[in-house]
């Protein structure tokens, strides 16, 4: 499956789960077990989804995107941090308390904004400019990552500095002209030694 379809499949699921959750909020005597049954896997998946995108999708968007992928990625990592912060904030409050619902609502707003922006920008850019075979391969990797992490165990759920993330990924993705994979982190053109090369 195309990596962008894998991402969109998760987006659809996120939207449906938040709707189901806030349907319970509207009830006069909400079922706590039902709330937890929706929120726990949703919270875990939000974290795992963000980590999976950062591991698999955004590095390739930086490499193949042409509609300012750096800006798209900076926005996305910032959004992921807000979503992670929302999940962490909810975990600090009693389930279904007003503070808990407020934290979950903030998480939902951050996620809604992120998904809309990602669908409009990063995903559209990648669909337009990345090779279909690459998108398919990445889709397989993303599905394997998501299937392999049903919870956040073993997943990096820490906030990331967006600029540092982009700098590090760009350094890794832009090999030198001689094809070597030596990291170039100095912002140079990477011309280096031409010893023995003929003009």
């Amino acid at each position: 499956m195309d990596v962008t379809d894998v991402i969109l499949r998760d987006h659809t699921w996120f939207r449906s789960q938040f709707i189901a959750l806030f349907n319970l909020y509207a009830e006069t005597d909400p079922d706590l077990a039902a709330i937890e049954a929706i929120w726990k896997p949703l919270a875990d998946r939000l974290d795992v989804h963000a980590a999976a995108e950062e591991e698999i999708f955004y590095p390739q968007l930086l490499a193949k995107g042409e509609d300012d992928p750096e800006d798209e990625t900076l926005d996305a990592i910032g959004d992921h941090n807000e979503i992670r912060d929302g999940v962490r904030d909810a975990a600090r409050h009693q389930l279904a308390s007003e503070q808990w619902w407020a934290a979950v609502l903030e998480t939902r707003k951050a996620n809604d904004e992120h998904m809309a922006e990602e669908e409009r920008e990063g995903i559209a850019d990648f669909r337009q400019h990345a090779d279909p075979a690459l998108r398919e391969r990445l889709g397989q990797k993303l599905e394997a990552y998501l299937d392999g992490h049903p919870t956040t165990e073993g997943v990096d759920i820490e906030d990331k500095d967006p600029e540092q993330y982009v700098d590090e990924i760009e350094s890794e993705l832009h090999p030198n002209d001689d094809g070597s994979q030596e990291r170039r982190t100095d912002g140079s053109l990477g011309i280096g030694s031409l010893r023995g090369q003929r003009a």
Binding site: L189, G196, A199
Partner: protein, 274 residues
């Protein structure tokens, strides 16, 4: 390695696609012009914060800190060769950047081409001819051999180069060897065939023991240089980079930047031809 933030590229009104185009064009323009890098050993890049080349030598410090009796104490100070920096300014029109974003595949980056020529000639000249103001002694400057007149008759070059190669070999300097030569004479060599139609370039290649003739913009005259390695060290801090200075409504003002120094370890390994 240091952060590239000092280049301020993130502050330029240049989208990612246009940055890639500008970088690719700079690389494409510079690479064929950077002759010195084809001839000398490379050290680095050490990054923007790399200040100096260690020389492994010391000077005597004439006096201790005031008030101390240091009888019998040896006082020395390490010698280093500081890196020089250059920035060559150029501009890219914002209209051109817009066209690159639209998908233009024939960007007009003429001022970048001019800057690349200046940057490459500066590096070539510093390494091959020397740059006294930056404490760089060039390959030709420190050669102990009497310079030979090369002249403009390129049919005589194989004989002159053969004599130079023989002189190096007699001094224990092994090959292969390379001939660095200014662009005008290089063009003459490329376009010349000897009696029987044998290309002059091929003849020179055999004289140089399979070494190459290197077109060297910025070089005055020519040099026969050993390519055995270890004789010439180009120490680069920040390798050539494109940075951002400022912009206005019409133009984005950028620059090419590099920090480097150069040291000849074995002066006997090259002969200048004037």
């Amino acid at each position: 390695m240091t952060s590239p933030n000092h280049l301020l590229r993130g502050h330029a009104p240049i989208p990612d696609r246009a940055w890639k185009t500008i970088d690719a064009e700079a690389r494409e323009r510079l690479t064929p012009l950077l002759a010195a890098r084809r001839l000398v050993d490379w050290v680095g890049p050490g990054g923007w914060r790399h200040d100096a080349m260690p020389l492994g030598r010391t000077d005597t410090v004439p006096a201790p800190p005031a008030g101390l009796d240091t009888t019998g104490v040896l006082l020395r100070r390490r010698r280093v060769q500081p890196l020089a920096e250059y920035r060559v300014a150029f501009t890219v029109s914002r209209a051109e950047i817009d066209d690159i974003q639209r998908g233009s595949r024939d960007p007009e980056l003429d001022d970048l081409a001019r800057a690349a020529q200046v940057a490459a000639e500066l590096e070539n000249r510093a390494v091959l001819n020397g740059w006294a103001a930056a404490d760089i002694e060039g390959v030709g400057e420190v050669s102990p051999y009497a310079a030979t007149a090369l002249g403009d008759d390129c049919s005589a070059y194989p004989g002159l180069v053969a004599v130079a190669v023989d002189q190096l070999r007699q001094n224990g300097i092994e090959g292969p060897y390379a001939l660095a030569i200014d662009p005008a004479r290089y063009t003459a060599i490329v376009s010349t065939t000897e009696h029987g139609g044998y290309p002059l370039m091929d003849h020179l290649g055999r004289v140089l023991e399979s070494g190459s003739v290197v077109r060297s913009p910025g070089l005055t005259g020519a040099l026969v240089v050993s390519q055995r390695g270890g004789d010439f060290l180009l120490d680069v801090g920040q390798d050539i980079s494109v940075g951002y200075h400022h912009h206005d409504a019409e133009q984005v003002h950028l620059y090419l930047e590099e920090s480097f120094t150069f040291k000849v370890a074995e002066p006997d390994a090259a002969i200048a031809l004037t």
